[in-house]
């Protein structure tokens, strides 16, 4: 099942690339069919997922035995929700791409390759493949921004995002290889479960843990737009075509956070003790500074892009708290924000196709002219403020509880920053609602056409998911909790290890 989840989009990408030029509608149909199939599969997986079952739907294949490399996919509570979210966003992103009128073949083939890479990254249980699939999305992003992107900065933006992400990925790769080399020569493997088990029984020396955790934190951090390495994100999303921005901001960006939770925390407990306070401090930059920047934006995409960077602060904060409720909240925010970012960028893409501008002052009175899109945008902006009823609220609240409970140095300061971030968020979101949705109609508003019929359902799908998980967050948190608990327990063993570097796990656990 999981293998099909990766192979369907990738094979469809090849099929689209080889499809004849004489049938211009075929690429879009193939892409919709492929992402629709992955969506159905992911819903089935989610429904059949056994909360108490640990790692499920596993599939393995030998690949390069001499290096201990094998193909291994599986889902547990940590990534089942992310996979579902990824498939929803992928389906919606394909559906909103009707405005692509040029080189559809190339566009959909790159989009499908990107989707295959993203889904592969989230289901891989092998470090090498995790990295491999993530990098698969790099070149499609570059080409899609370059060829189908918009704005005068697109040239700069596309190189900026590609080089920044390559740097982050390579730093993370150095950390991953160093982690691999810490395994004894005889049973070297890239398998995440085997490595986690080994490093729990035989902790790595504290100095090496600090080095590797630092590499992973900054490498993955760059991929998630950790302040002050976030500048690529608003710029790139502003220039990207709608589908690309939706997938990148919504799903791909969560890869770094997933990597930190899945790899860095359980394998490097002592390193996380050393670095998580630093992460807590840096995430204040996301929460407050990037929120502040978002407040100053006059461009809708700039606002959404910066606010999405700001929201990453909550995820970092949840991880840094290293408490069960905090980490669970972080995963919930990842899923909720994925849906929200996709919805926001999808709507801004629709607006751009109608108005030709994303300048907020030139977008007045949307609610009168475009009732459906206006209402959807209102929902997105309210969800962004953290209004109860949407999944974001539940996640952010859990993160705040977790951060308050944790003993991270200066946690009151970070929590205060998070509150400040929420208030700043409310200010710019509400201001955007006033200026775009309610103001007098802008010039040329008469020509804008609201989304009708089949163009509505991608937005409706995303909103439905946001509300569903907002009203019943237990659907996700019940699955996340067991996995998060195991990870928090493993990562917390570093507290004792920080004092006695080589203390075995059992001893460390009993001191708590």
């Amino acid at each position: 099942m999981l293998l099909a989840l990766i192979l369907i989009p990738l094979l469809a990408a090849i099929a689209v690339a080889l499809s004849p030029r004489t049938s211009p509608a075929l690429p879009r149909l193939l892409a919709l069919a492929a992402t629709g199939a992955t969506f159905v599969i992911s819903v089935m997986l989610f429904l059949r997922f056994d909360i108490a079952g640990g790692m499920q739907f596993e599939q393995t294949m030998a690949w390069v035995p001499s290096l201990g490399l094998r193909f291994h996919v599986g889902v547990d509570g940590l990534n089942i929700g992310l996979v579902l979210m990824g498939c929803i966003v992928a389906f919606a992103a394909t559906a909103v791409s009707w405005d692509i009128q040029r080189d559809e073949k190339g566009f959909y083939s790159l989009l499908l390759a990107m989707i295959g890479g993203i889904l592969g990254a989230f289901v891989s249980q092998d470090l090498f493949w995790l990295y491999f699939f993530h990098e698969l999305a790099l070149i499609p992003t570059f080409l899609m921004i370059g060829v189908w992107g918009r704005g005068e900065d697109k040239n700069y933006a596309t190189f900026n995002i590609t080089m920044y992400l390559t740097l982050g990925a390579l730093i993370a790769l150095s950390g991953l290889i160093l982690l691999y080399l810490q395994m004894p020569l005889a049973d070297r493997t890239f398998d995440i479960q085997a490595m986690t088990k080994h490093f729990q029984l035989h902790p790595i020396a504290a100095g090496d843990q600090n080095l590797i955790f630092g590499l992973l934190m900054f490498g993955f951090g760059i991929l998630v737009s950790l302040w002050p390495f976030h500048t690529w994100a608003p710029l790139g999303y502003g220039a990207a075509p709608t589908a690309n921005a939706m997938l990148h901001a919504g799903v791909l960006k969560k890869f770094g956070l997933y990597g930190l939770i899945r790899i860095a925390l359980p394998m490097l407990p002592a390193g996380s003790q050393r670095w998580l306070p630093v992460l807590a401090l840096l995430c204040m930059g996301n929460l407050v500074y990037c929120g502040w920047v978002a407040m100053r934006q006059r461009n809708l995409n700039g606002l959404i892009g910066n606010s999405s960077v700001a929201h990453m602060g909550f995820c970092f904060l949840g991880i840094a708290s290293l408490t069960l409720v905090g980490v669970t909240g972080a995963v919930l925010v990842m899923i909720a924000h994925g849906l929200l970012a996709a919805l926001s960028f999808g709507l801004s893409g629709y607006l751009y196709s109608q108005t030709g501008t994303l300048d907020i002052p030139r977008l007045g009175g949307l609610l009168r002219r475009l009732p459906f899109i206006g209402a959807a945008l209102m929902i997105a902006l309210f969800a962004g403020c953290g209004v109860p009823g949407f999944a974001n609220f539940a996640g952010e609240l859990m993160v705040l509880f977790g951060a308050w409970k944790s003993g991270v140095t200066g946690h009151w300061m970070v929590v205060a920053a998070a509150w400040a971030g929420l208030i700043i968020g409310a200010v710019y979101m509400l201001r955007a609602i006033r200026n775009m949705l309610h103001c007098p109609e802008a010039e040329g508003a008469g020509e804008w056409i609201d989304a009708i019929g089949s163009r509505r359902w991608p937005y409706a799908l995303l909103i439905a998911a946001l509300v569903l998980f907002g009203v019943a967050p237990g659907l996700l948190t019940d699955a996340i909790k067991p996995s998060a608990e195991a990870i928090v327990k493993m990562a917390s063993s570093g507290k004792a290890n920080a004092v006695a570097p080589a203390a075995p796990l059992l001893k460390a656990a009993s001191t708590h």
């Binding site: 001499s66 390559t166 790769l173 150095s174 160093l178 691999y180």
Partner: protein, 479 residues
């Protein structure tokens, strides 16, 4: 002596002589297709090479020639490369005013030199094979006799090549003078007592300098961009793939078979610095280039630097990574030069502007060039990614004294993204209006391109088989 050991070389060198004669009796209009016959000969030799058994090292020519797994790996590498180069030459041949048949023969002679280099087991064989390669390349680089840039390339290659050969001979003389032997095997035993003898060390250093010229490592790289730019495209491709790989097999054998371990271990710092500087220099200089061939020239310098990472790691894993990286580099660079050769021949320019809108003229060419650039940049799922992964892994394996080199390599890769993807940008979106002129692609070129693309994907997605071969090949080296 067992002459049948050299069966592959006999086939190629004999074939070269035959083609030289055939050229006399072939009517002028049909000379071009002699290249297909030459490519067929090389292909037959490649198939024949699978009948050659090299599981245990076998010696010939008074131990000057060895046939082992490493030699066979490189022989096959050179044979595959030459098939691509010959197909490219047939397409390119109408640019030559005269001597088409000679061009094919010279390629076969250079191939013979490379195959001998793969088996060189003493200094005589090392020098003779290198000279066979270099002297043929003097002619191959200046084959566009009516074009000044080609002649200029030939002269530059001649002067610097002669200089480096001189340095190398001097080095060989010093090593022979201090150790009293020309044989790699004997030297490894005798040299244990020579580790502190300055004459011996200087001689060995001169030898490494001569080989560094072949792989265009800093500071022996100056000829590369000019010669790459001026030479006919097939020659440039052959230089980039064959000549560089020959340099690496000789370097690996010299460092890890002939030299005592104590000396090499002391040189690790030198190799590390050379690798790091080569990576940075090649990548930084490539950024402002507008000529594709020149850009690939600098890229070839930086790739030499990456491969030196594996040499500097001084481990079995490192050398295996070099072999693997070279295999991927073969398909990648051939794909790149196949496209450039067609563009240069039909549009008359290798400027970045010439490839604007290439995807409208020929989707296959655009896709192949894009994949080649992406593979050079080291992005999955292509060969370049797995090769770089192996190289970086082998560097990190050597412990914390190598971490700075890893950092340099990472910086180099990030820099390289900017110009490799700059080529991709030039293809797909550029502000220049495009005149829709179709590019004509013959069936052989089409097949060669497909083969290169498949090779890149195969080595990126299914590395196991080639990795095993490379690992077995480097088993003959001592660390």
């Amino acid at each position: 002596m067992n002459a049948s050991l050299l069966s592959l070389e006999w086939m190629i060198l004999g074939g070269g002589l035959v083609f030289l004669l055939l050229d006399l009796w072939t009517p002028a209009g049909k000379k071009r297709s002699l290249g297909y016959a030459a490519a067929a000969l090389v292909a037959v030799t490649l198939v024949w090479s699978f009948r050659v058994d090299a599981s245990t090292p076998q010696l010939a020519f008074n131990d000057g020639y060895v046939l082992d797994a490493l030699a066979l790996f490189f022989k096959r590498f050179f044979l595959i490369a030459t098939i691509g180069v010959l197909l490219m030459s047939v397409d390119f041949a109408d640019q030559f005013q005269a001597g088409i048949g000679e061009y094919y023969s010279l390629i076969l002679f250079a191939l013979g030199g490379m195959m001998l280099a793969a088996s060189a087991n003493d200094f005589t064989m090392l020098f003779v094979s290198i000279e066979l390669i270099t002297v043929t390349f003097y002619v191959l680089t200046s084959f566009l006799r009516h074009k000044t840039p080609s002649l200029e390339a030939g002269i530059k290659y001649l002067i610097l090549g002669a200089l480096s050969s001189g340095v190398m001979v001097y080095g060989i003389a010093l090593v022979f003078g201090s150790s009293g032997t020309m044989k790699f095997g004997e030297l490894a035993e005798k040299a244990a007592g020579l580790t502190h003898q300055k004459v011996f060390l200087i001689g060995a250093l001169f030898l490494v300098a001569g080989l560094a010229f072949k792989i265009s490592a800093f500071p022996f790289h100056v000829w590369t961009p000019d010669v790459y730019e001026g030479s006919p495209s097939p020659t440039t491709a052959f230089l980039a793939v064959g000549s560089k790989a020959a340099g690496f097999v000789l370097l690996l054998r010299f460092l890890f078979v002939a030299m005592p371990h104590a000396v090499v271990a002391e040189w690790s710092r030198v190799l590390m610095v050379m690798s790091g500087v080569t990576i940075l220099y090649g990548n930084l200089c490539a950024i402002p280039q507008r000529s594709l061939k020149r850009l690939l020239g600098y890229s070839s310098i930086s790739n030499g630097g990456y491969m030196l990472l594996g040499v500097a790691a001084m481990s079995h894993e490192g050398s295996t990574a070099v072999l693997y990286y070279l295999s991927g580099y073969l398909f990648t660079v051939l794909a790149g030069f196949l496209v450039i050769s067609i563009v240069v021949r039909q549009l008359g320019s290798d400027d970045l502007k010439a490839i604007a809108g290439l995807h409208r003229r020929s989707p296959l060419l655009a896709t192949a060039l894009t994949l080649a650039m992406v593979s050079l940049a080291g992005v999955p799922p292509l060969a370049g990614f797995f090769g770089k992964f192996l190289l970086l892994k082998s560097v990190l394996e050597q412990g914390s004294s190598y971490y700075w080199l890893m950092a340099v390599a990472v910086v180099g890769v990030v820099i390289s993204i900017s110009y490799y993807l700059g080529v991709v940008r030039a293809i797909y979106w550029s502000d220049r209006p495009i005149e829709p002129k179709e590019l004509i692609l013959g069936a052989p070129m089409r097949i060669a391109l497909y083969a290169c693309v498949l090779g890149m994907l195969y080595l990126g997605l299914f590395p196991n088989f080639t990795l095993e071969l490379a690992s077995r090949a480097t088993g003959v080296l001592k660390f």
